[in-house]
């Protein structure tokens, strides 16, 4: 790993982004594992994991931009793509859960029942 030439501050920022991202993702996954009801579990990954990955990608963007000397924005594209698709994934999964009656009689109030 050739990081020796990196300024400390940049290194710190990159590290922070990486670890923050990892933490967000971990929280999302903890939510997925721990929460009681499908619809509650749905929140964790769709938000936390997406953001976690976003942070990580920003860290990576900074890191490689420095490494290569030019702005490397591939990560940004991945991030944008994720942010655009994650809500739709969640939407589709929520639909599937409603269709199957998952969580009916669970902790979520006002369970729609037509």
């Amino acid at each position: 790993m050739t990081v020796s030439t990196m300024p400390f501050l940049l290194e710190l920022v990159v590290s922070l982004f990486l670890i923050a991202g990892a933490l967000f993702a971990l929280i999302g996954s903890i939510g997925l594992a721990r929460l009681r009801d499908f619809f509650m579990r749905l929140h964790g990954p769709t938000k936390a994991s997406t953001l976690g990955l976003g942070c990580l990608l920003v860290g990576s963007l900074l890191y490689f931009s420095f490494q290569r000397g030019t702005v490397s924005v591939h990560e940004a594209i991945v991030t944008v793509f994720l942010f655009a698709t994650a809500p739709v994934s969640a939407h589709m999964m929520a639909k599937a859960a409603l269709f199957r009656g998952v969580g009916k009689g669970g902790p979520s109030r006002n369970y729609p029942d037509r």
Partner: protein
């Protein structure tokens, strides 16, 4: 249909594609040329899949909106993180129906995505006829306040952007 409209059905989006190409590669004249050709060709080829005309009236405002959204996402995540980690047993999840005033599909999608990405809410179903969104909330305290908040914070700006 003008000549330009025929060849550039989604000029804004085509521009976005060119930019994307330049971002993926290097900024150079060759890539600008190649990217433009690709963008135009791809736009034309995919045009049948995207028959609606673009309705973004104020691209600038869209950027502002997206910036605000990013901040909200950060905030919302901290909130959700706290709830997941420390309050998971006290959560009061529930569904509520959000009455839409937006009509444009793209705009509604933007709104629904925004909702899904921000504090403790996930849009679960879009009733196109009844023009409502079914939303699941991780911690549903005050339904009315939440509806007002969404309307003010997101739906109104979107209405402006899309002139809906």
């Amino acid at each position: 249909m003008t000549w330009l409209q025929r060849w550039l059905p989604h000029p804004l989006f085509t521009g976005f594609l060119v930019l994307l190409w330049l971002l993926m590669n290097q900024f150079s004249f060759a890539h600008l040329l190649l990217g433009s050709v690709l963008a135009v060709v791809i736009s034309l080829v995919t045009q049948p899949f995207w028959p609606e005309r673009s309705r973004v009236k104020y691209p600038g405002k869209l950027l502002v909106y997206l910036g605000r959204l990013l901040l909200d996402i950060l905030k919302s995540n901290l909130v959700v993180a706290r709830r997941i980690l420390f309050q998971s047993d006290d959560l009061k999840p529930g569904f509520f129906t959000y009455p839409l005033s937006l009509t444009d599909d793209f705009a509604v999608t933007m709104l629904a995505s925004t909702i899904s990405l921000t504090p403790g809410t996930v849009s679960a179903h879009y009733d196109r006829e009844g023009r409502t969104l079914l939303i699941h909330c991780l911690h549903l305290d005050d339904e009315e306040a939440l509806i007002q908040d969404i309307h003010r914070r997101y739906e109104l700006p979107l209405q402006e952007i899309f002139d809906d």
